[in-house]
């Protein structure tokens, strides 16, 4: 009856309990820092395009 379902449920969670934390750790470890521009172009610093600035 549901003996096989119970076994499938148990095996599924045993697999998830092992694999998912590993995949999660890999995903977090693979994070790259957001690129930082060392010096901003002057027009962007002002927030106003140079040619239209007064």
């Amino acid at each position: 009856m549901i003996h096989r379902l119970r076994r499938r449920h148990r095996v599924t969670w045993l697999a998830l309990a092992v694999l998912l934390p590993i995949l999660y750790a890999i995903a977090i470890a693979a994070r790259r820092p957001a690129p930082v521009v060392p010096s901003m172009p002057a027009p962007l610093l002002d927030g106003v395009p140079r040619e239209t600035a007064p």
Binding site: M1, I2, H3, L5, R6, R8, H9, R10, T12, W13, L14, L16, A17, L19, L20, P21, L23, Y24, I26, A27, I28, A30, R31, R32, A34
Partner: protein
């Protein structure tokens, strides 16, 4: 239980359950968006709403997946199980809202169809940090849709409980996809350790709950393996081990049998409710019928059949009393077969 099919079989309890659920979700979304905008002046309401809906769906999914094992570990959680399907459908609707807002925000402003854009705008499947996490969310959403669409007794009855259960076990695949959707998506940019820790804690808690309860059930089944005597009957317990109008659950041939004691008689039926495979032996006899603790489906202990006009039936087992010893024939009779109960000596 119901003879016919209705869209929702409303009861006062279900209405309270759903009202609390809807109120909690609205409150959560309001607080998330309000606090998010207050703390980050650059955040738009659309972005906050996408995040609020996503985290809300993720929280609900954790709650849904925790209810089953918690109810196995402690009966006080059983009321949560009673209306879990409404929780599941609500979670799908919230997840759908997250997906729709996300598609509109990030994929609907170009000259490509938004769904096509979702699938082709990033194809770096070989990269971890640049992985197209949206595809994982889309597959998970399709699974949740299939589950929500079949979350009704009509489908349960027509697909049969084992098939329906197998289909709904895909929620574990959806959960894995959603965890990776978050880890490869928002957590690539949002680097606060609390966010990483919260999802890790949810993952570990759910894994531990399911593994522990699964192993406990397995140990219980193994402990229940018994030898068969010459007459084909198996001694399962002493009469005094069974409380009046309650059952003792025993494992015979790998399957569970509920041995009920009531009004000076003892009967045995399958422990598996035909509705959603609930544990009948954890219920009690109400109005002369075995009553499933999950959704209240009822069966007559002598026949394993639901009282008319209902049609559900479960297998029955022959029972014999030898003094104080309770013996059960482990060979199941066809569902609904009447078996005379063993009568206690007066």
């Amino acid at each position: 239980m119901s003879r016919g099919y209705r869209a929702v079989g409303w009861t006062p309890h279900k209405k309270i359950y759903d009202a609390v659920l809807a109120g909690s979700i609205v409150l959560y979304l309001g607080l998330f968006v309000g606090i998010g905008i207050a703390l980050d002046a650059n955040a738009t309401i659309e972005t906050q709403l996408i995040r609020a809906l996503g985290t809300c769906a993720l929280l609900l999914l954790h709650l849904i997946l925790a209810i089953g094992p918690l109810a196995r570990l402690d009966r006080r959680f059983l009321p949560l199980l009673y209306n879990r399907r409404h929780l599941g459908v609500t979670m799908f609707v919230v997840a759908l809202g997250h997906a729709l807002f996300g598609i509109v925000q990030f994929h609907a402003l170009g000259d490509v169809d938004p769904l096509v854009s979702l699938l082709v705008s990033n194809t770096q499947y070989q990269s971890v940090s640049q992985f197209p996490f949206e595809a994982l969310g889309l597959v998970a959403l399709l699974i949740l849709f299939a589950m929500a669409a079949t979350s009704h007794d009509f489908w349960l009855a027509n697909l049969t409980a084992p098939v329906w259960k197998s289909l709904h076990m895909l929620v574990y695949v959806a959960y894995a996809l959603i965890v990776l959707h978050v880890a490869l998506g928002v957590l690539q940019a949002e680097r606060h350790p609390v966010l990483v820790g919260l999802l890790a804690a949810g993952l570990v808690t759910l894994g531990a709950l399911h593994v522990v309860t699964g192993q406990r059930e397995r140990a219980g089944d193994r402990a229940g393996d018994r030898g068969v005597d010459a007459s084909g009957f198996v001694e399962v317990c002493r009469l005094g081990d069974i409380r009046e109008k309650r059952a003792r659950i025993v494992t015979l041939g790998g399957e569970r049998v509920a041995v009920f004691r009531y009004d000076g008689k003892v009967s045995a039926i399958s422990n598996v409710c035909q509705h959603q495979n609930g544990p009948l032996g954890e219920g009690k006899i109400v109005d002369g019928c075995v009553t499933c603790p999950w959704h209240g489906y009822q069966y007559q202990p002598e026949t394993g059949a639901s009282p008319p006009p209902f049609t559900e039936k479960v297998p029955t087992f022959r029972v014999r009393l030898d003094g104080d010893r309770v013996l059960v024939d482990p060979r199941p009779n066809p569902p609904g077969t009447r078996i005379e109960p063993a009568v206690e000596a007066t």
